[in-house]
Symmetry: C4
Subunit: 297 residues, 4 copies
């Protein structure tokens, strides 16, 4: 298609290729998780800026800001869930050839329990995912520095009508009890990892060029069905690292102490449990029963 034989990209390749496979995987996990987080947060910022924009354009003369706020959330939710699905598809597409594009400690962890990964590689992946998510949150904060200031009038706030902390990490609604929150995070990650296990199982013969799109569609479905309880973190790195960043950015210790320390660890620990459950449930109920002669080899 394009004459790539001796173009600059190809000439520079030998100089920049990294020989060590684990370092390559580290970079891919870091970069793609960062990309994912940037995409996630841009989607959320879009919503906030959209509301800002409406307020600026029409002033106080026609709309009640709170009303718009509820309106906007209503209307754009489909955009957020589809948007997150698309950004996950892009991130998986980029990283899958290098590191497998887990992008989620829960996915890496269930692979450890299945003997597909050892603990050293697991640690490398988790560190990369958290650094990527932290840098992604930092990038978003730089780009939207003014917008955040305008929106909340200079006060970083975790709760209330002008709170922007929920852009960086999830905070559940008031109606959700701690036990229910634990169930919610386990169930969400269970469905995610069950689907990932099904999509990536060689025996289901899904072409590798379609797998990122199917995984993105799975996340879009989760966004349409399991997002509201507690914002479907279902990913320890995507929730913890940006929460740490928001602490550094001046939101105060409340990002961790929210609900008397009864929340922040839930999207860290529960997805690990849910991921393992989902992946093994897939094997016991479906994977083990696909006839061997139907497998690719």
């Amino acid at each position: 298609e394009e004459n790539m034989t001796m173009n600059l990209v190809e000439r520079l390749r030998p100089k920049f290729t990294i020989d060590n496979e684990l370092i390559r995987a580290f970079i891919a996990e870091l970069f793609c998780t960062g990309f994912l987080v940037v995409g996630f947060f841009f989607s959320l910022f879009f919503l906030l800026l959209f509301l800002l924009f409406c307020c600026f354009q029409f002033g106080g003369e026609c709309v009640n800001a709170q009303y718009v706020l509820s309106q906007g959330k209503n209307n754009e939710w489909i955009g957020i869930s589809v948007g997150w699905g698309l950004v996950l598809m892009m991130a998986v597409l980029m990283g899958s050839r290098i590191s497998g594009a887990h992008l989620n400690p829960a996915v890496s962890f269930f692979q450890v329990t299945q003997g597909k990964m050892n603990w050293i590689r697991f640690l490398v992946y988790v560190v990369a995912q958290n650094i990527g998510a932290f840098l992604g949150a930092f990038g978003v904060f730089c780009v939207y520095f003014d917008a955040i200031n305008v929106f909340e009038g200079g006060n970083r706030t975790v709760t209330g009508h002008t709170a922007t902390a929920s852009i960086f990490a999830t905070y559940p609604g008031p109606f959700l009890g701690t036990f229910n929150a634990i169930i919610d995070q386990i169930a969400g990650t269970l469905v995610l990892c069950l689907g990932v296990a099904a999509i990536t199982d060689r025996r289901n013969e899904i072409p590798s060029f379609l797998q990122p799109a199917w995984i993105g569609a799975l996340l879009a479905f989760l966004g349409m069905s399991m997002a509201l309880n507690a914002g479907y973190a279902i990913n320890p790195a995507r929730d913890f690292a940006p929460r740490l960043f928001s602490l550094c950015a001046g939101y105060g210790w409340e990002v961790f102490s929210y609900r008397d320390y009864k929340w922040f660890w839930i999207p860290i620990i529960c997805p690990m449990i849910g991921g393992v459950l989902g992946a093994w449930i897939y094997e016991f109920f479906i994977g083990y029963h696909i006839q061997d002669d139907a497998a690719l080899e």
Copy 2:
């Protein structure tokens, strides 16, 4: 891609594989129908919780709950129809290699009439589908136990503004007469099974890795066009088993006696008729006229 030669999943495979093909199919139908029902009901719960969330966050100061209710339904309908299409795609993707992933007695029944399945297998499938749907409904109820209590104040109700019975089974709108309801369920299942017959017909040469996605798109279309009359049950197992569960869960006998017993059997019997009509109409008008030399073999 991944070194799966001797990982734990593969080592355990021989121990957990089931030899009997019919039992494998039973498990796959049960599991995937359960997955489907969980996905369906999560989508509906999302809507309800979304409204709850709005009420909690903005209190009585800005929104009228009923208005929000109608608003929410408006805005999120696209999310529900697309979400259901995606969850069906995932469920078919998982089960298709083992049982064919009918997930619907109407689909199993038209295959009996076409001589592709015998009656014993039909019974096994239908039992599995109903058990799966019942367990799926139970799973959703456990996860959202508190949310249901908050929403309806502890009273399980079948009709009225705070009714949650419609999460488990369909209840038609007041404008729909019995005769029209019968036509509606027959027509919906007819379109569904006509489409399924077209998508799975070998002569149309749709790759097997795309068929789950196309079937999901078909359901999404049905959700965008035929859902409102009576909630597009178009699946006896998806409607009857959760209705039975809601009886057990304390919604009372009204779940069956609704409309003087003039509703509950309609989404059980009519889809069977519509499914057979749709599949045979496809054969007579399209399937039989695709030239033989174009077939794959």
Copy 3:
């Protein structure tokens, strides 16, 4: 996958296969156009019934019917455009192996001008498309007979707030002049047929299993961008035959005399012009310049 060797469908095949290729094509065009029209109108009915449903459920206490009407249209438009795209995909998927699935006299006509079809076949296709569209409209009318009666109180009306004639055929908004309407229909069909020519051009090497989906996506795009001026009929059969049906169904002669006979012929004649323009513009600007050595053969 399934043992189809001697099932009932296969045993009946030789008895019902039609030898004459033109008759097969006639049936396929008729059936698939009917399917398409049923799908189109179900999408529109969905909208109307949705509004009805809201009114019934919440009564006069919270919503102004007209406000809901405009709201509903807003909110569901994405559902309609995506829904129509999906039903076109299904209809093309079913008919493409038999008749090519034109489903639109404008598409058939540009193929005549390109020497891919003769006039006799063109006439057969157009007759089939119109009969299919008429029967499709009849089917929808039967299913929704009560709903139409409830909605407009028994009076079939072409214009005004409770008009349902616009379900069967298109009626442009008041701001649209006749000349602009002509341009609009030509431009819409031009984009449609340009896209169809690009998607079906062998030289673009789009697999035949993806072409129905791409054509559906094209129609969804048109629904998102060119639908409002005059409802994107862009298909003489889809507009004329249901209009004739609505005359028979008691909407009165106004369905043709609307705007002093300055409308009904526009979506009949203009798409023929636009289709030819679009298909040839594609060839002159793109098709002729794709290098021969890149073609499949």
Copy 4:
């Protein structure tokens, strides 16, 4: 599929094929960019006409035009972002076999920096892209001449409630500072070109028939996440040429002098920087680390 051996299209082919590859590429870039711009602007017009339509139909009796305006924007945004994604997919699909379908000077420019294109070809492409965008804007203006007049009462206006200049070129919201606008355009094009580089990298093995769809999905994601700050121009030709056209069409010099000349050059220069950054960042973090033995050849 179709007997194309000696039809009119094929007979005319030798007469209209252009031998010079660069001229062919010029025509393809011009035509497809024009198609893209027509599609983009039709999507925006759809929104405006939709609002008009609501006003006409329901008059002053039920809705406040400004309220509708904000409502409409809310509701249809998903339609615009998906619609733009689909039209980009169609445009890339048409042009990719001839010119590579850059359709964006930023994409052409990063290919120059990567040694895949020389400066002469770059100039040819940029000229074609700008002429295409200008002609596309002209086409839309012709089709919607009356609608624009009705909407703004004959006064071409750049700012305010009835402004239609924003259909042709982007104008940022008032809350956006110049520095932030620069960052915004760089970041948007960075994500776009990073994604394009990933999707078109042979080593990622995405089939060429899927690449246009994936690029369209990427733009849809950008529309869902980065559109509001300044309308995601992220394409110098798509912004500058229609802006020039709107000057010719009577909107006055304000289209360039907006914000004291502190805006119009930002979507021209910044995307060039962002595109180069994005494409090289992809190579350094991902592209160079995909193992060679996994490449297609």
